[in-house]
């Protein structure tokens, strides 16, 4: 395999997640090279060849031009695999590159098994291995699935890439920073989170009271925030906050990968879910199979009693 790793630059800096691609390339075996649309400040600490196109010229986000640059690098390098992080940058670009290269795409790869790619299916309840029928393949790699414990080091051999610049069809107007946080979940010792399984907004206080009884903060999965039951500063996950509490209690949360990304660093995880097969069971230490709406208030009462009597 000759693999081309597509690194990401945002706000002039290399996104750390790009380094996960090196661990993926290692798992795959063979040679590797890199491509980056960025500037001096985003050059990775890594050896081997780096195809570098200037973001000042092509923009940090211009999917049409970026796809062309990546395809150009893949052609020059003779790559038979092009790998992206499965991120907002990667999943946006990968199909464009696959289309231009006539390649199969396998999305959100979490493992490499006997030459086949392993991916999740149905919110993590199933897994599948994929076989490709094309000469080349485009991959997006699941965040956190390939980690390397080595400190990045080295410096690349830079090869400049240029293409004929065209006005963008999708114009980047600017970035909007995340909303200001009203709660800091990141430093909380205990986080109790509400998921869609709580059923309705009116049940939020049930979860909030358990959080209080356990001396913790109130977190949430994304649907709870999207529905307006809680504001975004409560959201745990890849598009919310990353928490590392000693105790995490997931109430009516299925355990989608994007949610796990925000809480898998928790020391001890209790899940309360009516579905015994919910994927949250993969990371939980304890899974209570119960209806949250009945179970949580009873649990709160018991914990309050314990706090009073010791």
């Amino acid at each position: 395999m000759k693999t081309l790793l597509v690194l990401e630059c945002r706000g002039g800096r290399l996104r750390e997640e790009s380094y996960e691609l090196f661990a993926f390339a290692e798992a795959l075996g063979g040679e590797r090279a890199m491509v980056l649309i960025g500037g001096e400040g985003a050059v990775p600490k890594a050896s081997r060849r780096l195809y570098l196109a200037d973001a000042a010229r092509y923009g940090e986000y211009d999917p049409d031009q970026h796809a062309k640059i990546i395809v150009e690098a893949a052609r020059r390098e003779g790559s038979d695999c092009v790998a992206f992080v499965h991120s907002s940058y990667g999943w946006d670009l990968a199909p464009r590159v696959a289309s231009a290269l006539g390649a199969a795409q396998v999305s959100e790869v979490l493992g490499v098994k006997e030459g086949a790619f392993e991916v999740g299916c149905c919110n993590g309840k199933l897994r599948r291995t994929m076989a490709t029928d094309t000469e080349r393949v485009v991959i997006t790699v699941q965040g956190g699935a390939f980690l390397s414990w080595e400190e990045p080091s080295g410096s690349p051999e830079i090869v400049a890439v240029e293409i004929a610049a065209e006005p963008p069809r999708i114009e980047l107007v600017g970035y909007e920073a995340a909303e200001a946080k009203t709660v800091d979940l990141g430093s909380a010792e205990v986080v109790v989170s509400a998921g869609r399984g709580i059923g309705k907004k009116e049940n939020i206080p049930l979860i909030a009271e358990l959080a209080k009884a356990l001396g913790g903060e109130l977190g949430a999965s994304r649907p709870v925030v999207d529905a307006g039951w809680l504001d975004h500063s409560h959201q745990v996950g890849s598009t919310g906050q990353v928490v590392r509490p000693r105790l995490y209690v997931a109430c009516g949360i299925s355990g989608a990968i994007q949610h796990l990304a925000g809480m898998k660093g928790a020391e001890y995880v209790v899940a309360i879910n009516k579905d015994k097969d919910a994927p949250i069971g993969e990371v939980a230490d304890v899974l209570v199979v119960a209806d949250v709406v009945q179970f949580v208030p009873a649990l709160t009462a018991r914990m309050q009693q314990y706090a009073m009597t010791g």
């Binding site: 199909p95 999740g120 999708i170 919310g240 899974l287 914990m303």
Partner: protein, 258 residues
């Protein structure tokens, strides 16, 4: 203005999945099906744009699959879609995103759609490819992962969701494809009068054999249940005994955090 919304019918993720005899897909018999969550946002966005423009745009909702997908199409017509297109394909589940996109593009080509909306991914496969591939095949620009959408005079200003709550504001001209992320809007529940009205709306059935047939590029070799790490202690049974067991655990955990 002509808007095409592409929807997929997926199993309810709370169902219990069983792998089929061949070990290549799941048994469909045991499952309940519904509209892919991401696609509901696409339908809602189309209907909102139609309302914004005084009802002028025509909203077509397309789905590929066996006859059961008509139920999902019908629901979107009750949300405000004007007409449905059902590409009848018993083998849709064996097709890869490239083949599905080719069917959609083959249907849409030459019909003058100004805006094609899809979900950013499906809940079952999550490959996040079809929308972008349709755009590539039609030669349209494509913006993905939208959590904000506003339209004015041929130009869309949208917010793309990036990681950790950051967003990118992007602008593009129609015709275009846009893929919708969770939270883009609040999809409406169909009202009873609209459900009744939707019964009279047309769903055109098209044989898959009449559309472009592309060879498969990637396929499922094996489907299986993930190996349990086996670490979770499962507490089942009577609530009173469940409480007993959990409270003991939490006492030690909470004592150590105090």
């Amino acid at each position: 203005m002509k808007i095409l919304v592409c929807i997929k019918q997926v199993p309810d993720m709370e169902c219990r999945f069983r792998v089929n005899g061949a070990g290549t897909w799941y048994e469909e018999g045991d499952l309940a099906f519904r509209i892919n969550e991401y696609d509901e946002y696409a339908v809602e966005q189309a209907v909102r744009l139609k309302e914004q423009l005084g009802g002028e745009p025509e909203v077509t909702v397309l789905s590929i699959g066996p006859d059961r997908v008509q139920e999902s199409i019908r629901k979107t017509l009750a949300m405000g879609g004007d007409q449905g297109v059902h590409i009848r394909d018993e083998a849709a589940a064996t097709k890869d995103p490239w083949q599905i996109a080719a069917l959609i593009a083959s249907y849409a080509r030459g019909k003058g759609f100004d805006l094609v909306l899809t979900g950013m991914q499906s809940q079952d496969r999550g490959s996040a490819q079809v929308g972008v591939l349709v755009a590539e095949m039609l030669g349209y620009p494509c913006a993905t992962t939208l959590v904000g959408f506003s339209y004015d005079d041929g130009v869309v200003t949208a917010r793309r969701e990036l990681e950790g709550g950051t967003k990118a504001v992007v602008r593009f001209r129609l015709p275009a494809v846009a893929t919708c992320q969770l939270g883009l809007n609040v999809p409406r529940y169909p009202t009873l009068p609209n459900i009744m009205k939707a019964k009279r709306k047309e769903i055109e059935a098209i044989a898959v054999s009449s559309l472009a047939d592309e060879p498969r590029r990637a396929g499922t070799r094996l489907l299986y249940l993930p190996q349990k790490r086996g670490s979770a202690r499962v507490i089942e049974g009577e609530m009173s005994s469940q409480l007993e067991e959990l409270v003991e655990i939490l006492k030690t955990k909470c004592a150590s955090t105090r």
